[in-house]
């Protein structure tokens, strides 16, 4: 029988029991909608996670730490080189290491990650001093620390021109400008790498002036922090800790944390250019470790941020840096586990979503068996006037497939509607809680096609038994059937 005739006869037969077939088709629609909704929710959540990870700017970045930094965490996996017992001491992240890493092919820039606790005042403070004393500084971004022979606490300190605010200060390279946290900021990003400028977080600005946090932009602030200074004439590798003041101008205010708050710099209230912090000699935790482990007590970095020319070169750059004896971490490492998790989640969501469709396919079997019983005589007539077993089988297959196709189509529409409702409801909730709207439900085109194909395929499978039963009917018996 030709395809046109087959479709025409199948359509006619389906219309004959329109209520029963519509209910079965509605069941398929609900099954398809359920499958589409649950799997698309899994995909949406995965995309949401990827988006937030992507905001960390780590897709083309490798995070390098010293092997001395042997704490657990995402970078502490089996693939990382481990310090060997009795081997030479682990390499420290000093200026030499930075130079070595910057020579790795594919690396475009290497910046130290700087984060330290600072005491911030609005206005200018004219003092830099060792802890216990003071050193003056008259121009922004420059300092004249006074050497102190030792770390000696002293209760005396300069009177504050304004209330002080303790906060973390973090350094950002110029390349961080592309992060979306700076897209709609009040003010602008650092005008140049060595500019004595700062960007403050909205949280910090509110701490300074709760009513008009935006008014901080354009003002001058003084950051007071602990700086390391070499001990004059010392050969023991020690250094003194000096209190230092640096004055910068606030040029921008950001609402959200850079890089989705996923880096070590998260929680910082003030951001300054990386280049100027290098001249500040900020005391970092790695310096104390340097005193304990390194005879020279040279300046070290807690971590290096390696910018790779293209994201595709990240694995080979990571491998090369590992060979230099450092630990590395990139977004690829983070997303490996995440992809596995969402893969499993998608499978489970798909299984639960398919249950309704499997129930619907049982309804197809039931409907078609009923149809075979009701149309037994008709099948006998068709065979008597020349229909082959194959014609009868194909006719029932087509009816099953048509139910799957129509049910799949309306199921997809229903699923897309439910998905839109999920996104609308989620965004309503987020907006009410002063969060930026986001998309938690995402249905790619391939999923829609897959669900449609799955619906039709399952309907064909459901039609196997009834179609075979109809085809096997003895025409003589079928013609006698009342």
């Amino acid at each position: 029988m030709k395809a046109g005739d087959l479709l025409e006869l199948a359509g006619r037969n389906l219309r004959e029991s329109i209520l029963r077939n519509s209910l079965t088709t509605a069941g398929i629609s609900i099954g398809v909608a359920s499958l589409l909704t649950t799997v698309a929710l899994g995909i949406g959540l995965q995309e949401l996670a990827n988006r937030h990870i992507g905001q960390s700017g780590l897709f083309d970045t490798v995070y390098v730490t010293s092997m001395q930094d042997g704490r657990g965490g995402p970078d502490d996996d089996a693939e990382q080189p481990k310090p060997k017992q009795g081997a030479a001491p682990a390499k420290v992240l000093d200026e030499n290491a930075r130079q070595l890493v910057s020579q790795v092919p594919g690396v475009s820039s290497v910046d130290p990650e700087v984060r330290f606790m600072g005491d911030v005042r609005t206005g200018t403070v004219t003092a830099n001093a060792p802890v216990g004393g003071e050193v003056t500084s008259s121009t922004p971004a420059t300092s004249t620390p006074e050497a102190a022979p030792s770390v000696t606490p002293n209760a005396a300190s300069a009177p504050a021109p304004d209330a002080s605010h303790a906060t973390f200060v973090a350094a950002l390279p110029m390349s961080s400008r592309r992060d979306e946290a700076f897209e709609n900021m009040k003010g602008h990003y650092f005008s140049r790498a060595t500019a004595a400028e700062a960007i403050v977080s909205n949280r910090f600005a509110k701490e300074v002036d709760e009513k008009t946090p935006g008014s901080i932009v354009g003002k001058t602030i003084t950051v007071q922090f602990a700086s390391r200074e070499p001990l004059p004439g010392s050969t023991s590798g020690g250094f003194s800790v000096v209190r230092k003041n640096e004055t910068v101008t606030v040029v921008g205010l950001i609402e959200s944390e850079p890089f989705g708050g996923m880096r070590r710099i998260s929680g910082a209230g003030i951001f300054v250019p990386t280049a100027i912090t290098e001249g500040w000699n900020v005391l970092q935790t790695s310096d104390f470790r340097g005193v304990a482990t390194d005879a020279d007590a040279q300046k070290t970095y807690p971590a290096l941020l390696v910018q790779v020319a293209t994201a595709g070169k990240v694995p080979e750059v990571q491998e090369a840096i590992k060979k230099l004896g450092f630990r590395t971490f990139s977004i690829l490492d983070a997303t490996k586990g995440l992809r596995r998790f969402f893969g499993i989640l998608d499978i489970f969501l798909g299984i639960f979503g398919s249950l309704a469709l499997i129930v619907a396919s049982l309804a197809i079997i039931n409907t078609l068996i009923m149809s075979v019983l009701e149309r037994t005589r008709e099948i006998g007539i068709m065979k008597a006037i020349g229909a082959s077993d194959g014609d009868v089988k194909t006719l029932f297959f087509t009816e099953a497939g048509a139910m799957g196709l129509v049910g799949g189509f309306f199921g997809v529409l229903l699923g897309l509607g439910i998905g839109a409702l999920i996104n609308f409801g989620t965004n309503l909730y987020l907006t009410q809680h002063h969060e930026s709207p986001d998309q938690v439900w995402s249905s790619p085109w391939w999923l829609v096609l897959f669900v449609m194909a799955f619906s039709i395929g399952l309907s064909f499978i459901a039609g196997l038994y009834p179609a075979a039963r109809a085809a096997k009917l003895d025409p003589v018996q079928a013609l006698r059937y009342e």
Binding site: G4, G380, I385, G386, S388, D391, V476
Partner: protein
């Protein structure tokens, strides 16, 4: 190889059914021959095997043993698909209870065998019209079977049987559900098909009077076996029909 002048030839054809330990011999070694262009009647009481033989000749059933040859084709050796093609193109069937599909119109019922034969859509309407006109039912083409009288339904059934231009028409008590006047109308149609088109017709009937009046030969059966046969006064027409075919 059978006689080419024969349309139907059965050689010790049997159809047995197993019911538990009992073997029911619905048809038991029946051997009959029907020449091309003959209008023959099968007569006998209920359970004599008439309809069983007709179903075997229609290719709806297969013999348990023996041979059934129709137009030089051994039906027992045909595959299921070949039998479907045989039913589609070689034989037409008319039933006592008409067996029309109630959800389809008269024209759609008549067109149905053309769909299975994959006849091009553009030529179907003309062929349906021709078949309906032949049985004088053209004016009822758009009606449903339930809107027709018994005679009209049977004429529709005949039109459907004729649509693929079969060589043989098998009729299973075509007047069984009709009053005598309507039955006569149907028999007139069958007679015309036999006389004008030279169609071989084998009709099962209970009524000897109808068989004597319209057919040329009567074959009597009882208990699944061939009993006897008798020529009717219409025999001369057989020779005429054979002559017509030979000339063609």
């Amino acid at each position: 190889m059978t006689d080419p002048a024969l349309a139907i030839c059965t050689d010790r054809a049997s159809r047995h059914h197993q019911l538990g330990n009992t073997t029911i011999r619905a048809l038991d070694e029946v051997s009959i021959s029907i020449p091309r262009g003959e209008f023959a009647s099968l007569l006998g009481p209920s359970g004599s095997g008439k309809s069983t033989l007709l179903n075997l000749l229609a290719g709806l059933d297969r013999p348990t043993s023996g041979a059934i040859t129709v137009l030089d084709k051994d039906l027992a050796k045909m595959t299921s698909e070949e039998l479907a093609v045989y039913r589609r193109l070689t034989v037409g069937m008319v039933f006592q209870s008409f067996n029309l599909i109630s959800s389809m119109t008269v024209a759609e019922n008549v067109e149905l065998p053309l769909r299975f034969a994959e006849t091009p859509r553009e030529s179907r309407a003309a062929r349906v019209k021709e078949a309906l006109d032949r049985v004088e039912l053209g004016h009822r083409a758009g009606h449903r079977p339930t809107e027709l009288s018994g005679g009209e339904q049977q004429r529709c059934s005949i039109a459907r049987a004729l649509i693929n231009h079969p060589t043989i028409l098998l009729a299973d008590e075509p007047t069984g559900n009709l009053d005598s006047r309507t039955g006569s109308e149907i028999m007139t149609v069958l007679d015309r098909l036999n006389r004008e088109m030279g169609m071989t017709i084998l009709m099962v009937t209970h009524e000897r009077a109808i068989a004597e009046r319209w057919s040329q030969r009567m074959i009597f059966m009882a208990d699944g076996q061939f009993v006897s046969e008798a020529r009717t006064q219409n025999e001369a027409r057989t020779q005429n029909a054979a002559r017509t075919e030979a000339q063609a």
